[in-house]
Amino acid sequence: MKKLINNPENVVEEMLDGLTLAYPEYLRKLDGFHVLVRKSSPISGKVALVSGGGSGHEPAHGGYVGKGMLDGAVAGDVFTSPTPDPIYEAVKAVDGGAGVLLIVKNYTGDVMNFEMAKDMAEMEGINIDYVIVNDDVAVENSTFTAGRRGIAGTVFVHKIAGAKAELGANLMEVKETAQKVIENVRSMGMALTSCIVPAAGKPNFTLEENEMEIGMGIHGEPGTHKENIQTANEVAEQLVNKILEDMCLNKGVEVAVMINGLASTPLMELYIVNKRVNEILTEKGIKIYRTFVGEFMTSLEMAGCSVSILKLDDELKDLLDESADTPAFKV
């Protein structure tokens, strides 16, 4: 395990400190909790957005705290949902009277811990609601299972619901917008290498030099299957096709595209993947309104990428274009 860390037990604390020290104009950390909130929180009269989850996905979620996106981000241990207490503290710190929307990625742990925090906040009389992001098409959707995971598409939820809240919408409206994004965003990922949770010290799955993992999660969970490694074009095709199987995109429809690096894959490769993704969609008559290439929702030092496609309407386009000013995402 070759990492630039000091002690596996302190990575989350030190990372949050380092992030806060880098961007004090955006963020502050709640004393005693792994929670980052906007420097100016609470913002009176604005619906506040809180997200979070396990750490190891940086810049998610602390990097998205700022104008036009999140009000608070709760960091669990690496790849482990935070407990209800810090979520509850985050909610109290950012609530400016207009209520709080929790944006939760669909993992059993996250859902249960955020639900418990929501119950606690409700008992305090805070107007609070939540949405669950489940954009990962690698996992078959079924009412009999835990359902799909939330992955990089979550960043679109932060961006667009964040813009809606910034414009003064009420909690119900912000939730509806978030829900609309969730219904219209799909993602699919692949990995070239595994990653090592600092406290564990060894990788959760391993890949041979000629193997790649398809549909793996962003928590070191193994994916749906292994395959021989392919070219960037073949990978792009496989990811996009899996998304399009699940999503009805007619000719002329407009979409936003996110090519997300899992950490070790350089931008050069993400740009190459984007070229093919762009071609495939364009060939199908799908219009690409906006593209984001970078590292938005990573998985420690994993190599690989995910593709997210968000189907847009006029409202979503406008909200996507609204300014956002956070450490890791600016529009």
Binding site: G54, G76, D77, F79, T80, S81, P82, T83, P84, D85, Y107, T108, G109, M112, N113, E115, M116, A138, V139, E140, S142, F144, T145, A146, R149, V197, A199, A200, N204, F205, G217, H219, G220, E221, P222, T224, H225
Partner: protein, 210 residues
């Protein structure tokens, strides 16, 4: 049998020690079909439990279980934190105010715990979760008591049933929790949550029977 509050704390501490000993084992089970942290999560949780119970006077077993549950909820995170946390908090309600408990109380404790996990996890039998160890154990315990077994015998049967349940998790597809993302690929692997549940039941049996 009749177990008093301070003894309950002792048993919980013993559970914590056994979890600690099996930390890597549970983590490896989770690595195969989850994210490889179940042992770490449980160990962290029970360490906090020990700390929280350190100065408890043992006068209210409900309080002991509630503290245990709250320590788990507040320190574990992930899926197992709220699940085991809720289990202990629900169990706490049925023995609130009690200074000592009998096997009948324990039966209700276990029932309440199961109920708590099912509600919190929105899960049922055969989904490859904690429930696959706990529900057979509860059933076996009830049956044994109904059929006149003594506490030790009944607990033994509960442990055996849990053991069979854990084995059974190897044969089924996970439909709840992280392992469900694997679909068919989850077959052949034991569920880590079921394994930790069996571990807890075993410790309780060992403590009671010796």
């Amino acid at each position: 049998m009749s177990v008093r509050g301070l003894r309950v704390i002792e048993i919980i501490n013993k559970i914590a020690d056994d979890i600690e000993k099996n930390k890597m084992y549970l983590t490896e089970l989770d690595a195969a079909i989850g994210d490889g942290d179940h042992g770490l999560n449980m160990s962290k949780g029970f360490l906090a439990v020990k700390e929280k119970l350190k100065d408890d006077d043992g006068n209210n077993i409900g309080d002991i279980l509630k503290k245990t549950g709250m320590a788990l909820v507040s320190n574990v995170g992930g899926a197992s934190g709220p699940l085991y946390g809720t289990a202990f908090m629900k169990a706490a309600m049925v023995v609130n105010g009690k200074k000592e408990i009998e096997i009948e109380d324990f039966k209700q404790v276990l029932e309440a715990a199961l109920e708590g996990i099912k509600i919190r996890g929105k899960a049922k039998l055969n989904e490859k979760t904690i429930i696959d160890a706990l529900e057979p154990a509860v059933e076996a315990l009830k049956n044994a008591l109904d059929n006149g077994s003594n506490a030790e015998e009944a607990l033994k049967k509960a442990v055996n049933a849990a053991e069979t349940g854990v084995e059974h998790t190897k044969d089924i597809i996970a439909t709840k929790g992280r392992a469900s993302y694997l679909g068919e690929r989850s077959i052949g692997h034991q569920d880590p949550g079921a394994a930790s549940c069996l571990l807890i039941l075993k410790t309780i049996y060992n403590e009671i029977s010796c």
